[in-house]
Point group: D2
Chain length 357, copies 4
Amino acid sequence: MAKMKAAIFVEKNRIVLDEKPIPEVGPLDALIRITTTTLCGTDVHILRGEYPVAKGLTIGHEPVGVIEKLGSQVQGFVEGQRVIAGAITPSGHSFACLCGCGAQDGPDTRHGFRAAGGWKFGNSIDGSQAEYLLVPDATANLCAIPDHLSDEQVLMCPDIMSTGFSGAERGEVQIGDTVVVFALGPIGLCAVAGARLKGATTIIGVDTVAARIEVAHKLGATHVVDFNKGDVVQQIMRLTDGRGVDVAIEALGTQSTFESALRVLRPGGTLSSLGVYSSDLRLPLDAFAAGLGDYRIVSTLCPGGKERMRRLMEVVGSGQVDLKPLVTHHFKLDDIEAAYELFAHQRDGVMKVAITP
Amino acid sequence: MAKMKAAIFVEKNRIVLDEKPIPEVGPLDALIRITTTTLCGTDVHILRGEYPVAKGLTIGHEPVGVIEKLGSQVQGFVEGQRVIAGAITPSGHSFACLCGCGAQDGPDTRHGFRAAGGWKFGNSIDGSQAEYLLVPDATANLCAIPDHLSDEQVLMCPDIMSTGFSGAERGEVQIGDTVVVFALGPIGLCAVAGARLKGATTIIGVDTVAARIEVAHKLGATHVVDFNKGDVVQQIMRLTDGRGVDVAIEALGTQSTFESALRVLRPGGTLSSLGVYSSDLRLPLDAFAAGLGDYRIVSTLCPGGKERMRRLMEVVGSGQVDLKPLVTHHFKLDDIEAAYELFAHQRDGVMKVAITP
Amino acid sequence: MAKMKAAIFVEKNRIVLDEKPIPEVGPLDALIRITTTTLCGTDVHILRGEYPVAKGLTIGHEPVGVIEKLGSQVQGFVEGQRVIAGAITPSGHSFACLCGCGAQDGPDTRHGFRAAGGWKFGNSIDGSQAEYLLVPDATANLCAIPDHLSDEQVLMCPDIMSTGFSGAERGEVQIGDTVVVFALGPIGLCAVAGARLKGATTIIGVDTVAARIEVAHKLGATHVVDFNKGDVVQQIMRLTDGRGVDVAIEALGTQSTFESALRVLRPGGTLSSLGVYSSDLRLPLDAFAAGLGDYRIVSTLCPGGKERMRRLMEVVGSGQVDLKPLVTHHFKLDDIEAAYELFAHQRDGVMKVAITP
Amino acid sequence: MAKMKAAIFVEKNRIVLDEKPIPEVGPLDALIRITTTTLCGTDVHILRGEYPVAKGLTIGHEPVGVIEKLGSQVQGFVEGQRVIAGAITPSGHSFACLCGCGAQDGPDTRHGFRAAGGWKFGNSIDGSQAEYLLVPDATANLCAIPDHLSDEQVLMCPDIMSTGFSGAERGEVQIGDTVVVFALGPIGLCAVAGARLKGATTIIGVDTVAARIEVAHKLGATHVVDFNKGDVVQQIMRLTDGRGVDVAIEALGTQSTFESALRVLRPGGTLSSLGVYSSDLRLPLDAFAAGLGDYRIVSTLCPGGKERMRRLMEVVGSGQVDLKPLVTHHFKLDDIEAAYELFAHQRDGVMKVAITP
């Protein structure tokens, strides 16, 4: 049986490059030869044991590659095509998918709903940090890359662009809105770009790292609030003349950012939560206006599926959003352990790394 | 200056019937002679000092009456007409109103948004537990009562029917949904009726009081879960074959009900919060699926304005929802202190009381 | 090769019962042994050559049956289960499906969108008026029938209930709305029931046949307008005190009903079109308010897929909507030509017929 | 009684500058001294007698000015403030306003809905092509101009920007959509900008005039189709690889553009109509997919009110949309007849004119 290299979760604080068999291709699957992939903050949570996965699992959920082999029932693609697949791979045929909630795709029985069932790569099945990747329900999940786009140009589509944009989309940003984005990591930066794409006119980024702030301005932030330079809530209320914001996007996953996001909402505003949390959250009574504020809190898992990927690649192709500045480092798959080392410690101004087998 | 009787907040644990001048009528106002009004759970919060209002304020926000005098600029009404006004009285001309959020109506400057600004009666201005009530922005807030409806039939429209229904409306209940309503007080019972009106097919009420449960079944509840007969979350998950509910409506205002509502949501489900809380809320990490569950949490303040009142009276007139069983007791305004005594202690199976001057 | 009986389109005005091979089952398919099916108005259009289908095609798109054989890749079902499938069978994996428009499901390439691609049974593939039916993309389209529901109780779910309800759903009927339904055939009657389920309080049916009007009242119509007793538009405007309706549902497919539906809209109202038209439509300048009326016109093809079927069977099971009075006649499959004869001529008060092999 | 100059409709083909009394200010009104206004295509319809208004009416609905005098009940403004008001002036207190449809504002009785009731200036009351303008319901309709914006920068907000943007908003343009705009007059150009603001990635303008096409590209058009260079529908289908468009915006008001807009929709797409039509419209059977296409047709009247104006000025202030190139000519109010002459004949590349008293 042919072998491939893959980044495998061994135990807490150990992800190593090892060999695994190249997967068998079932009727609904496609085997992708990975040409570029990347690391995600969630992978670091996995590395640190904060988000549990099975030992021996291949990590990674951001694939760019070439179709090596198609299952007998896959339609609409040919071997040799350049493709991406989303981090989340809805089956298309679950009850969740058929009520428009593909990210929450679960087992196919009525009783099987459970949260985040659509997130499979590097979570419930082997992921993309490998030479080959098996894509389930490939007809629903592969999307051909337009010829004029490079691997690196579409590398952010499977996860951070889809997640970040969804912060603005589920927040229902309107033309003329004021939006704040808490934390300008890769997801937050994409949320800034998404808010801009949806017509927000005042976009406030919250961070303290100069390089991130610079990218945020390029992607559409009109103001930046530095949490080291005074109370964040007060700064934002001042910037909005005491009115508060229409939509607050949480892109870090902490009590502090979540609570501040709630506190700066105008009555009737929306807190759009993208963060992956690692502890309970608290809604202070006054911040929640005792339940009388007409607030909306929405949490969103990265939307996937080929139609989503097609649209995101359209955005890239249109030139409206340029995420190339986010890819700060390049590694070979052979050096992925070094990539994790750099990325997990946020050294050297790293935002995203491109990994090529 | 002519005097009238009014139920006045004197200090914590003292609401008394006293005399006050009958209000002057400004150009935008209408003076209503109250023919029927009622007490609300929120009034009990005020009585107990849990929700602060100014000393000397007339309490009450559920008016049914007759137009005694119209301001010079009020259009579309005549003196002598039978009318109601909503508990919340949007001005119609604030920034909040003009972006569709009338309950959050505030001062008319851009800087003046603040939560719950549309709730004026018995909160920021004198309320309806009196012989006369001054209705601000009367053109936007009065609504004529159809001749064939009695005072008591429309007495629930200004607040609990509007609030309860909004739980289902903001929860975006769909045909075929499973909905749970936590606590079957007057608001919760109206939420049951609202869920039924919106097409829910499985409606689970949570309570333990037999009389309330009986009314819940009449209003559309298909199942009831008694929190004294085992773990509520487990009971609901069993009733839904482990699937969870599409929409959970919180109608009490406690950590326990809020948290249970979150725990029984299907992935992608909505927690629709109606309760008035009196302490911080906690979102347990697992119940919130670490932010990955595509959940929506919406809080809603009672929708007001004449179009809302018109529609609610249409519902009453259509015979689809009969709330008469909720009015369990009758008092004269002169006996309102006794009514508070009964209602605050939930004696004698009281649900709502009708107060007539 | 085993044979089965099937109702086949031979040529204009000839649908005959003939023999065909029982279909082969592919990996994604399920073979259903039909236990009950029915005829639809659209089948009569096909019979008359008004809606073109291929010669030799088996007609019918409303299947109730038992799983005879499952394809190797079908998940979540077992042979012997009682099931239905929707008239429309979205693949779940097309671009159209993945942007929430499964009824418009098309080929799996980006270039392949075309209208009504999700309608396959008795249109682009063999249909349900036969002893056996091959269901494509069975994981997405089969739905188990709850034990306590009979075939006849769920016979309306695949098409007319789904279509009729969608008239109210896509019309976005709100609590307290006034709705008119033009023509009280089976679809129109289900639209009445759907409007009621969504919270409409005034529901006006337009027809002239006593038996239909009687059923309409049972399903929720509050008023009926007889087009033989005066101008329909004037009658409706009078019933609504000159206000017009919030939502007008067109359920016949003619210029006359479409135009009247437009004329009775309140400014800002919605015309929800369910009819299958056979000629161009005209929007009179005044009826369309020269484009200034904030009107919405939506046309909807029957929603399908297993989640839809599950929800509709929940409605039946809840007892909120009883469509049994619509099944006026019963035939054996062997007598289907006689059933067509009766149904096409609307003899003997026929509404829907149940066909059993 | 003090007099002012005003452009008055005398009879078909005659709008003249004449004298009129400066209006009296009622309690809810504000008197604005006009500093800049403009002409609209609708004014030309009025001039030509195609849209009927009363003889003697002052024309114009696009006011920029300074508050000269405030009615006693107007809140939130001071005399001397620079303000705009929308072309449409919702009362804020009508049934239509209170169900979110302010452009369809009508008399305050339940029976009084009629289309376009919110359009008052230069339609049912005196308009803005004058030295002074009386603004009704001023609290709801005035909006202060930020100091850093000039009159000319906000001159497009009251009508064409609000109307054009609403084409994209009511069309529910999503990130990654393909949008076509039929006719690149001022409204169409603003629709292009609106589609861009809402996240469309392919925006096709249809026109033939070089100067308009140039501006369209600046405002976000990615492609232009010239109707003189072949069949428009075929050109658009080719540009979209046969897929069709998600949203087609009609911005001219003719059968030809309306029909083409329908023909290029993808199944499930939306036709967003902004044009003011002058004859019946036809929906060809095939273009309407016989009612099976899941199409949506929405018509929209310019949204008004101070919150809308505030948001549009935010867009201008953000620099995201620069409409200055649309103002091609300047006239004094004294020369307004010459302005009409130029504008009505579309001479000299005119797009919009600025008129200053």
